[in-house]
């Protein structure tokens, strides 16, 4: 749900990072936070457990500049990936303008990836959103690990609608901004259509 404030001349959009637990959603946000100039970002908030697992969400507000005189702001959220946090995941998805799915490339995480995409589809439906029409990108994270599956195979199984796909190594930043830009652009293109 894009929020357009004509008085303050602002467009605010919400992007949600989704995916299985320990896939690197929080790491994506941490990298973006570390590489963004202080005037373009707000405080990053992580509601995490004592062992640094996401408990409720991470939140990072990003200011991308102006478009047609409107300040364009993206609010980035991650969901908790662990299966039993589904109630929280559902809440975070509410009002999402776009979704980034962070898949774990490791072979043993394939089932978790598949389960998480199905869960995404179900939870979106409950908010009246359809993954088929929502701005969406797929990120294959952890490409540097020796047990990472071939990209072709990941794509064959996880691709949902021929969405833009990116290879990533989130701690080093590879693919992190490309994935974000892809969804941000899709959201703005959607805005133009209205």
């Amino acid at each position: 749900m894009t929020f357009i404030n004509y008085a303050a001349k602002e467009i605010n959009c919400k992007i949600v990072y989704y995916g299985p637990g320990l896939g690197g959603k929080t790491t994506n946000l941490q990298y973006i936070y570390s590489k963004t100039s202080p005037d373009a970002k707000g405080k990053m908030i992580s509601l995490a457990t004592e062992t640094d697992r996401t408990l409720f969400f991470d939140f990072l507000p990003l200011d991308l500049g102006t478009i047609r005189g409107f300040t364009t702001r993206f609010h980035l959220y991650t969901v908790p990936g662990q299966v039993f946090y589904d109630a929280s995941r559902k809440l975070i998805l509410k009002g999402a303008d776009g979704v980034i799915f962070v898949a774990d490339s490791q072979e043993e995480r394939m089932e978790s990836n598949i389960e998480s995409i199905r869960n995404l589809e179900t939870n979106l439906k409950q908010h009246g959103l359809d993954l088929k029409s929502l701005p969406y990108a797929l990120q294959f994270n952890k490409r540097d690990l020796p047990n990472a599956m071939p990209v072709d195979e990941l794509y064959r199984v996880l691709n949902y609608k021929r969405e833009p796909t990116f290879e990533a190594v989130a701690p080093q930043g590879n693919g992190v901004f490309d994935t974000l830009k892809s969804v941000a652009k899709q959201i703005l293109v959607e805005l133009r259509k209205r």
Binding site: F3, I4, Y6, A7, L188
Partner: protein, 164 residues
Amino acid sequence: MASMDLVLYEEEIHQLEEVLKRLRHDSNARAVFLIDKNGQQMAADGDVDQFDTTSLASLTAGNVAATDSLAKLIGEREFSVLFHEGERDHIHISIVAKRAILLVIFDERSSLGLVRLRVKRAAAEFDQIFEQMAQKASAGPVEGPHQTPFSEITDDDIDALFSD
């Protein structure tokens, strides 16, 4: 998706700000915020600069969303009021017009009773403003100076945002 967008025009923002201003004054609060349920700040009044307003809005919305789910789990429709008591400052959170969250931050210069009383009055005014907004939205796109500027966004405009 378009119908779900929240669009605020200047006249409505001014109306909302007027109500907030009066509420802050009448309740002796430090600051008052009106926040969309998705975590976007719509309007505010008071010592706003003292706070990280973006984080405040996002966390408040998360708090309300979690509490809403808790209510449903025990068979309640919602918990319409949340109150957090600190040593110096306190937070009063309430749902107004079903879609917005009213956050009041106050200290010893006010009291929970006074805040509750003033919030109740302000809530009725917010209901009216949101009702107007809903009617306007259902009447279709607004003509004139408010016509959406986004239909004219070009690929170059979008690329320029990412030119770093």
